[in-house]
Symmetry: C2
Subunit: 401 residues, 2 copies
């Protein structure tokens, strides 16, 4: 009988621990096949440094709270493994896999983490350690993983962004002469999350929307902002953090080494608007909150996150390896997906962008996009509260010797 | 029979429209005493410029949605009326009160707005317009209104801040080597809102808490941040926007006029931490979201907001004027308040601060504070959703001729 190790990797999401929850629940159903359920602390680092904790020793109550706990409860990492799978760190991974009699390696992450996952799967195959199965669990609020209809965590982040901008919008528009509000939303390469604001009703939808997939022309941008402001007395602009524009280098702060200190995209654009249009501005970044907000988790997202954790265990038990769980949308109305497997080698080197046919212009997305997103953000979760606060999991973290 | 005009003033809150809802509901119960229910657009400006809308012509469905609509649905203002109540703007106010046969003026606002409210009450009295009653409805997320146990909107903002920091905290702590996260929370003069994070359990409570009521020593601050970081591998610091510290003026951006461009307190402190301690940082501002977030409205706050709107109408109908509704806590366990009236003249010129006996040090508040806050943030509201979004009120805004 083999043990299972679960790894959380990369930036967390609001439902990352729901997948862990699903995996634990499923693994416990197979006491004849799976011995211990281990968690690797700080992603792959735990498997390199022999830092595993025994999840079987945690209280049931804390396992249940995983469903409303954002952040990576096991700890995460942004570490990239070396390209050469024969280098020292891989040897340590194999050593610890053997030491702890591990037969199932589940890695929950985004693009970079699937690359790690792929490398380990390759190495295990090359070394002919037949009884070690490696499965990827998709996760990224950026929604840019390839081979899948969508990625876990994105729907909940989108639900937060939509509802936060919806509320924000009423407040932003309630002064006679307001400001130009530039809201910066996560997404370096893909604009899925920013595009989600398009689902808002006209009264609260941002006037202008900019994704990394669109050409961003600063002069057009300034002209559009001015036009909206002149007409409405305020403006609400949603931008992806990854939009590309030529920075205005006048008045840029320079540090002791002579390096220009650039701000985030929103604050830079606000500075340019103030300099060029002489309008009052407010830059807003939702920061980590957008990926770590139990209050607006999408029910669809949570259910799928749990199910994906389960499916990953099932796939490993069936002897599958070197694969990631992916979603195929088989019906739009009613919304229905099928869980399938895609080769990690195919996932690891691709990025999924918002397509041209999903965008209309810098004020609207297309019906195609709206149809795509609507079922994903559907349904609300009910949190448990104690003294007005939604409690999160606290683990005992008992180290495996 | 006289008409009623309702005014929203100053910075909005998550429950400001719940008080309007309560006032409309109560006013409609007295068709024999109250004719039309008007809303003044953009605070007192609507009464100066004759911009009133008829709230009696709005759809019931939209009135119900007021309960989950943040922002000032009528529009608001930060306009301060001149000191001299014999100046032109007051004359216009009186003119429009007469023109629209107004007998009840309800002003929902914070300290500055209660000053406006007080001036109008004084003027009406001086002019001996006996049949015009002026009543204040308290509201400020800063919780710094005097004469009252607390102010409407503060409990919901506290509930958001607590839950957002709770979630944020798990995410912030999940990397092996993390950052110094400085979270800036609203509150220029009073630290009530920042102090609310003290209610979090130890696992997620910020390591350091700074209110405007505390002496802030930059060197001590840096030493404390370093100590926490060395011990934990990351740090979470909560600060009020109004804390006072000597800005580090090296590397400060200077605009075209030679004026130093200072950032918010959090980003300034992060810059100092990077310069002095050479640690990675992340500045976070919850910005408008903390005062405009229907998802974490406190049930206690919403109930009291509705009831206060009702009580204001009742007080005006009873002939009271020049007063604000205040809350007196008559029982702690179970929590119970009495609605009373306080003279506007007393409210208008005072500020309520966090007291010395509510603070322990820069890591903890006292039991007294926790007992005070706990019942205020209690209870959750259930929102209605459509396509994953909690809809907000959209008014027809039919202007009164």
């Amino acid at each position: 009988m083999k043990n299972l190790v679960y790894i959380q990797s990369g930036g967390p999401t609001s439902v990352i621990n729901s997948s862990l929850y699903g995996a634990i629940k499923e693994a416990k159903k197979h006491p004849d096949l799976i011995g211990h359920i281990y968690g690797s602390t700080h992603g792959i680092e735990g498997l390199i440094d022999d830092n595993l904790i025994d999840l079987g020793l945690e209280d049931d109550e804390q396992i249940e709270l995983l469903l409303q706990t954002p952040g990576s409860i096991l700890g995460t990492t942004r570490k990239k493994l070396p390209k050469d799978i024969h280098s020292a760190e891989y040897a340590k991974i194999i050593e610890n896999i053997k030491k702890h009699n591990i037969g199932y390696v589940l890695i929950n992450g985004g693009n970079d983490s699937m690359d790690t996952c792929n490398k380990i799967a390759k190495l295990v195959k090359e070394l002919a350690i037949e009884d070690v199965k490696v499965i990827g669990v998709p996760k990224t609020i950026d929604n840019d993983l390839a081979c899948t209809d969508h990625s876990l965590g994105f729907p909940s982040a989108a639900k937060f962004v939509m509802n936060a901008v919806n509320a924000f919008s009423v407040d932003a528009g309630c002064f006679k002469k307001g400001k130009v509000h530039v809201v910066e939303i996560m997404g370096r390469d893909a604009g899925w999350l920013t595009a989600s604001v398009d689902l808002l009703p006209e009264a609260t939808r941002p006037h202008l929307i900019y994704l990394p997939e669109m050409t961003f022309d600063l002069e057009h941008f300034l002209a559009d902002v001015k036009k909206v402001y002149d007409e409405k007395g305020y403006a609400l602009v949603a931008i992806s953090e990854g939009i590309k524009f030529e920075r205005d280098m006048t008045n840029v702060r320079v540090d002791g080494f002579g390096h220009a200190q650039l701000g985030g995209a929103a604050s830079e654009l606000c500075r340019i608007i103030e300099n060029r249009l002489d309008l009052p501005t407010r830059a807003v970044e939702f920061s980590i909150v957008q990926r770590a907000f139990p209050g607006y988790v999408s029910l669809t997202d949570r259910k799928e996150a749990i199910m994906t954790g389960k499916k990953a265990v099932q796939a490993a038990l069936k002897g599958k390896t070197g694969k990631m769980i992916v979603f195929k949308r088989v019906s739009q109305n009613p919304y229905k997906i099928k869980y399938q497997l895609a080769p990690l080698s195919k996932v690891a080197n691709a990025v999924s962008h918002v397509t041209q046919e999903m965008m209309v212009d810098n004020t609207r997305m297309s019906d195609k996009f709206r149809e795509y997103l609507r079922p994903l953000v559907d349904g609300e979760v009910k949190l448990t509260y104690k003294n007005g606060i939604a409690p999160v999991t606290v683990l005992k973290r008992i180290k495996v010797k």
